[in-house]
């Protein structure tokens, strides 16, 4: 048996292309059938017509894309984009100081602080979003406190607003910003900062002329990592937003749920995906150019 195994190894060593195929085969199969083919299906469906009771009629049309210009859907598209950009900006502005602080923390604290950033990263997004309902609803903790200290007389409407969606997304995606920022600040040669000080730079000047330009790859990476899930968010607007704050994610879900309009849903999905791929492409281009620093 052992002899056989060894011969197998030697055989594969002598025939690298065969062993490569057997190593890659399973993932090629799985990713091909259960990832790429489904994506091709939505590409196809997005150019077809919907049946009278849902389903598909195999007839080519561009109608599904034209519908984006319908003010109803255009508003949703613009709102998604606006909220995603706002989320990204807020995450950047708050994430940068945090990342900077972690990068300059003592060794003992650095790991703990990092794990605390990573921890929510991998825990149920649904549950963490749900936690905000407890805080934001009319009888939630925030309103309770505001009432108790007589800051307001009746509960504020916090839940089911754009603000709630924004808070929820910042909350959910802040770690995506902090981690790449941390990585690039950590890599920063600290003597450069000392050199800047030595040459008479004020803290602000030092930050604008040295720190920020050198950590730009992290800024770009973090921004895109936040922007992608924000623009495609489904859970947050669904739980924290109302009918008036519908975003693209919910719109897609609607087409496959109550609206039963698969071709339109496919078209939105595709647009979303292209948006994501464009931002990834921009990211790759920008980081490639910045590789020198």
């Amino acid at each position: 048996m052992k002899r056989f195994r060894q011969q197998l190894f030697v055989f594969f060593n002598r025939h690298p292309s065969l062993s490569l195929l057997s190593l890659l085969g399973p993932s090629l199969f799985w990713m091909g059938i259960f990832f790429l083919v489904p994506l091709l299906i939505i590409l196809l469906y997005s150019f077809l017509q919907k049946g009278p009771y849902g389903g598909i009629i195999y007839q080519f049309t561009l109608e599904n894309y034209r519908r984006f210009l319908d003010p109803l859907y255009l508003t949703i598209l613009i709102r998604s984009f606006k909220l995603a950009v706002m989320t990204t900006v807020i995450c950047l502005v708050t994430g940068y100081p945090i990342a900077y602080r972690i990068a300059f923390a003592s060794k003992k604290w650095k790991n703990t602080l990092l794990v605390l950033i990573i921890l929510p990263f991998w825990t149920s997004f649904l549950i963490r979003t749900y936690a905000w309902i407890l805080l934001l609803r009319d009888t939630g903790l925030i309103n309770q406190l505001l009432l108790k200290f007589h800051i307001v007389r009746e509960p504020l409407k916090l839940l089911y607003t754009e603000g709630a969606v924004l808070v929820g997304m910042v909350y959910g995606f802040l770690p995506f910003m902090v981690l790449p920022l941390y990585a690039s600040i950590e890599k920063l040669d600290k003597t450069l900062l000392e050199a800047a000080e030595d040459l008479g730079a004020t803290p602000l000047w030092k930050f604008l002329r040295v720190t920020l330009p050198l950590t730009l790859p992290g800024v770009i990476a973090g921004s895109i990592l936040v922007f992608i899930p924000s623009v495609a968010a489904f859970v947050t607007p669904d739980l924290l937003g109302g009918a008036k704050t519908m975003m693209m994610g919910s719109l897609i879900q609607n087409q496959f749920g109550p609206a039963r309009d698969w071709p339109f849903g496919s078209a939105i999905s595709l647009v979303l995906m292209i948006l994501v791929l464009i931002s990834v492409f921009i990211y790759l281009r920008l980081t490639k150019e910045n590789k020198g620093i």
């Binding site: 993932s27 703990t112 602080l113 794990v115 991998w122 825990t123 549950i127 495609a232 496959f256 999905s269």
Partner: protein, 277 residues
């Protein structure tokens, strides 16, 4: 040195995380922002956990400690059934994706071939693509080929994204692997099989365990893709929680959420420990 720990006599060994001894003590406003940031990240979770022990149906004010909601939880057959589904899905998708992802990582590490860059891109796609798009496209696919939505369809979907995560983790570990160690083993008389089992595998195992834990966590926590690919009769826990949340806030949801969070925390901390090894 303004902020040395000696200034905090009550906490000599463990200064507050936000004001550790720092070479740049004058930027303490950073400490404030960082502290608030962490508060922002953890306060909602803590409140959720606290409320799961609150002796009040309406969760509005603190009425005293109780374990009632946890007891109710374990009487709720729907939740228990959902938990079972989630565990089966997570275990199965972890096992399958671990094997496939590791083989792929090995191929990417050992061989250079035509189209490697493209394949690399495709393998990273499931990580960056919005989960809603992945969920929708798979559902359409299953409907089109008339595949019954249920446990199997969820597992297939979870494997499809977990392969990528496993590959990334294992590959990082492989990249850190010193190839001369394998050469040294062969030099000392170990054949290929022995080298693999005596040297490569032991060195790789922390990465494999980390990848498995990560895959399990991702699968167990996934809501969006499960939501679309789940069928009648197989409702994973996050989907069950979602439908309960949609009905309104209930203390039982707090309790099950707390349990899920704690399980995830333990898994993530384990993963972190292993990756640092």
């Amino acid at each position: 040195m303004k902020n040395t720990p000696s200034q905090y006599p009550s906490l000599p060994a463990f200064p507050h995380p936000c004001v550790p001894p720092s070479p740049r003590p004058h930027i303490s406003w950073l400490d404030w922002i960082t502290g608030l940031g962490y508060l922002f990240l953890y306060a909602p979770i803590l409140i959720l956990i606290v409320f799961s022990f609150n002796n009040s149906r309406f969760n509005v004010v603190w009425k005293g400690f109780t374990l009632d909601w946890y007891i109710k939880l374990f009487e709720d057959t729907k939740i228990l059934e959902a938990l079972k589904v989630s565990l089966i899905v997570a275990l199965a998708s972890t096992a399958i994706s671990l094997v496939i992802g590791t083989l792929t990582a090995w191929a990417m590490y050992r061989y250079s071939f035509k189209g490697k860059r493209i394949l690399e891109g495709v393998l990273y796609l499931p990580i960056i693509i919005p989960d809603i798009v992945m969920g929708i496209s798979l559902t359409l696919f299953f409907v089109l080929i008339k595949f019954q939505l249920g446990m199997a369809s969820i597992i297939i979907a979870h494997v499809a994204f977990n392969i990528s995560f496993v590959m990334v983790v294992v590959r990082a570990r492989l990249q850190g692997l010193d190839r001369t160690l394998e050469e040294a083993a062969m030099d000392l008389g170990a054949d290929e099989v022995t080298t693999f089992f005596k040297v490569t595998l032991p060195l790789l195992s922390p990465g494999l365990i980390a990848a498995a834990l990560l895959a399990f966590t991702l699968s167990f926590d996934d809501f969006v893709i499960s939501f679309f690919t789940a069928g009648v009769g197989a409702t994973p826990l996050p989907v069950q929680i979602y439908s309960m949340v949609k009905l309104g806030v209930s203390p039982v949801v707090n309790a099950i959420s707390t349990l899920v969070l704690i399980i995830s925390f333990i898994l993530v901390i384990l993963t972190e420990k292993l990756q640092r090894k």
